[in-house]
Amino acid sequence: MASQNVLVIEDDPDLAEMMTWILTAAGFAVTTVFNGFAGLAALERLPGCLVVLDLMMPGLDGIEFRARQRQNPTVLHAPVLMVSAHHDAAQVAARLQVDGFLQKPFMPDDLVKAVKRLTRLIAS
């Protein structure tokens, strides 16, 4: 069975590498990009993938990414797990109606569990 595709959109290179490492070790096929524009382009190339989205990024941030995702029928249904270090991020995530939210810092198991939950969402 093919691995589930996960798209990590995170502008912090260290944290992006860390999340990629954890998810790859957990058996996911991970694609990593460092900004929202590249994220949208990658999402169109990777149908059926789920997204781990940072909220605060230069240029196209998580809020704008989500707005554009909802306007694009081809990527509309990709589940999104939002991750952020911002203190108000939980409210923003709720407002954006994302499928999951993790407050940074988090532990590896939290990330893997949250992504697996989204995988089940795709399966259902």
Binding site: I22, G59, P108
Partner: protein, 379 residues
């Protein structure tokens, strides 16, 4: 943050612009007409003295509501209308007026009305400035916590990975990420110390004659890994013959160039090109850091060096004090920095000019050497 911004938007505008003129004039005419109507209706009972007072109050209220332009228009219009409509009727109604006293009273009331408008405008402007600083400080505190949490998250995750797998590969990878995060935490602390020094005006430099190429190339070396990691290009076109001597603090100058390179990288997408150049122009060394990134809006170009200001309400990493520090440090070196951009999405250029001083090699340099601009190092 958004609540504060909404409050700021409700503040009266600071100045009368051509765009505001028509609505302001409309509001002023409407308010004066309403006030005159009210006064006309109550004239038999309240007397004529109330008219100018009512109009002055209207002008003051408009200043508070819509800004100085609307208030002053109402003040001028109101005084004129009061002079024409009420001073003549006073005579018509048979009320005795002292010859020459009415214009003086009118002028006095006009002046007072204008002064009250200006006073209200100043108070509101001060309040606006104070609120803006407060909002920016709150934002900065939020960003400090964000800046600390990011490397903390990496350290925590790397440690957790190490705990479950002690293989050589995991140890090397985790160590690299922990070291990188620790360095970033150190930079956040350094920035906080610098911003405190800046606010207390205690940011000092220790100057010595140095070759400007050294801190530039050191900054290029230091910034290269992060730029490569973001899959961006970095090119340094730096003349090394002749050495360009400046009187400066090598560590602080390196900090200046690192800051500009870091900004260029953070505000540029994947695949962007960042170019650093150094050339001599007369008695000055000119350093430019150019990127093909997100660019800077025209309105932001004026404020980009203010503390805690971010482009487009940007949410990139950093405390929003980097460019403030850069400007302060460049200024302490006797130089100046400018920012330019063709607008959002079209990249930006930061240009620093520093005065050259005589160095041990410059005195011996021939004119041909002085205009040799061949790049010696390209990264």
């Amino acid at each position: 943050m958004s609540r504060h911004n909404a409050q700021l938007r409700r503040r009266p505008r600071r100045s009368l612009t051509q765009q505001d003129l028509v609505p302001d004039l409309g509001v002023a005419v409407g308010s004066v007409a309403l006030t005159v109507g009210l006064h006309w209706a109550t004239l038999p009972w309240l007397g004529e003295g109330l008219s100018l007072l009512l109009l002055a109050s209207t002008a003051a209220a408009l200043t508070s509501w819509r800004g100085l332009g609307s208030g002053m228009l109402a003040s001028s219009l109101g005084t004129t209308v009061a002079s024409v409509m009420f001073i003549q009727p006073i005579h018509t109604f048979g009320v005795e007026a002292h010859s020459g006293s009415v214009p003086a009273e009118t002028l006095l009331m006009f002046g007072s009305s204008m002064f009250v408008c200006w006073l209200i405008y100043r108070v509101r402007a001060e309040q606006e400035d104070s609120d803006a600083v407060h909002v920016r400080r709150n934002d900065a505190l939020a960003f400090v916590s964000h800046e600390l949490r990011h490397p903390l998250a990496t350290v925590q995750l790397a440690a957790a990975m190490l705990e479950r797998d002690r293989s050589e590969e995991t140890r090397a990878r985790a160590a690299k990420l922990i070291l990188s995060s620790a360095a970033r935490l150190g930079r956040v602390v350094d920035d906080l110390v610098d911003v405190t020094r800046l606010q207390r005006e205690e940011l000092r430099i220790n100057c010595a004659v140095l070759c400007l190429q050294d801190p530039i190339l050191a900054a290029v070396d230091a910034a290269s890994p992060a730029i490569a990691q973001r899959q961006q290009g970095l090119e340094a076109v730096v003349v090394t013959t002749p050495p360009l001597w400046v009187n400066g603090d090598e560590g602080r100058l390196q900090q200046v160039f690192e800051n500009l390179l870091s900004n260029a990288s953070r505000y540029s997408p994947e695949g962007a090109e960042i170019t650093v150049t150094l050339r001599q122009e007369g008695t000055a060394a000119v350093v430019t850091v150019r990127d093909t990134g997100l660019g800077i809006g025209q309105d932001m170009l004026e404020r980009i060096f203010d503390p805690f200001v971010r482009e487009n309400g940007s949410v990139a990493e950093g405390l929003g004090i980097g460019l403030t520090l850069v400007r302060s440090l460049v200024s302490q070196h006797g130089g100046h920095i400018t920012a330019s951009s063709d607008g959002p999405g079209r990249g930006s250029t930061f240009t620093i000019e520093l005065p050259l001083v005589a160095g041990p090699l410059m005195a011996a340099a021939t004119p041909e050497m002085a205009i040799d601009r061949s790049p010696l190092k390209s990264v």
